[in-house]
Symmetry: C2
Subunit: 204 residues, 2 copies
DNA sequence: TCCTGACGCGAGTCATCGCTCGCATACAAT
DNA sequence: ATTGTATGCGAGCGATGACTCGCGTCAGGA
């Protein structure tokens, strides 16, 4: 951000710009996302916009950051709440929290996950993943009896990735299965995986 | 494609353009991908380029299509070869084939999967997924005893998505685990999932 | 050899933005 | 009130890049 808004009206302007950015993104798509259009939608002149944002991508970044931050917050909260619980219920509730968070604004999810280059999301998405992954890894490490997977960090990586993508795709591609069924499959996937003994197939 | 190349030299030109397109994509990234640059890299004039390609995105599409087509071919071939086999070995070999295919050109994978909007890949990627998914679903349906998952189509969806993303992320993010370990985890994930009995948690 | 259509060229057009700059206005401190 | 500063405006600059067009060249059939 180029300058800190000091007065109240300028702080409101920044907010209006961010809101307009999100709105343009959602209703016109990323390809039509121009600074002039955002300024217009915000009822603000292009010049004013550049008082607070260094360039076009900074606006997108704020929208994307806030989005993933929001999702991360909800998932991490749900997970932290249930960290004491055991087994399938925790998995289910956490996956449920993720799906709910993603369903909250499917249009924005669509733009963020499909129209934006993935690298645009990388920073925030990685933060989200690491946050959840660390919680899961800690959980697994604290309960060695939970399953047969030897390395909590690896298992957490696998689980988080799998759930994240299942949930995202389910929301984006339109539900081919019911929501409950999705959650059931996720529980089965994670549960089965954790209980599965290490294979010793060797290489190839 | 705007016009079919009839003479030999023009067919070669089209090939040179596609090759240049891939090359520009890989070495300069998608943001720097301009028709003039591609024409330059191909040793061809911009005008000639537009004799065969309707617009810029058509060139990208050809590159992307060929890439996923190649990957799909290798994976489907490997899967079809081992469709008679049973259990973990088949999963491992197929995952191995996918990882090998993705590793073949990591730079291109990087651009295709990270710099391009996902929607750009949607058509071809979906084709790849459906192709593999159908094979897996058929396999599962033919062997009801293989596991406890009741719906082959759903199970296939879960498995394909999970493997695809694990493999892609492993190649792209740099291996946090060894390749063998990745394959072990995939086998455990799929194996455990298929053996996992249907939970009847009900909703929420 | 000649002729016709396919091929190829590349300077240039045109529209699209990202972004700036000079000026007007609103606010706050004295 | 007055002055200094923060805020806001919007016409327009400058660069970029997708795409065209009119003209030369080449292949291959007669």
């Amino acid at each position: 951000m180029r300058k800190q808004p000091r007065q109240e009206r300028s702080r409101q302007m920044v907010e209006r710009i961010v809101a307009a950015g999100r709105s343009v993104l959602v209703s016109d798509g990323y390809d039509a996302f121009s600074t002039n259009r955002v300024a217009g939608a915000a009822g603000v002149s292009p010049g004013s916009l550049y008082q607070y944002f260094p360039d076009k991508s900074a606006i997108v970044d704020v929208v994307v950051d806030r989005y993933w931050e929001e999702v991360a917050e909800q998932v991490a909260a749900s997970l932290a709440d249930r960290i004491a619980e055991f087994g399938p219920a925790m998995v289910r509730d956490t996956a449920d929290a993720l799906v709910t968070a993603l369903e909250a604004d499917p249009a924005l999810l669509r733009v963020v996950a499909r129209e934006l280059p993935l690298s645009r999301n990388h920073a925030r998405l990685e933060a989200l993943e690491r946050r959840v992954r660390d919680l899961v890894a800690a959980y697994l490490a604290a309960r060695p009896g939970t399953g047969h997977r030897p390395q909590p960090a690896v298992a957490a990586w696998v689980i988080v990735l799998a759930i994240e993508n299942l949930a995202t795709r389910w929301v984006l591609d339109g539900p081919a299965v019911t929501r409950d069924q999705l959650l059931d499959e996720i529980v089965a996937l994670v549960g089965g995986y954790l209980l599965s003994a290490s294979v010793t197939t060797g290489s190839r």
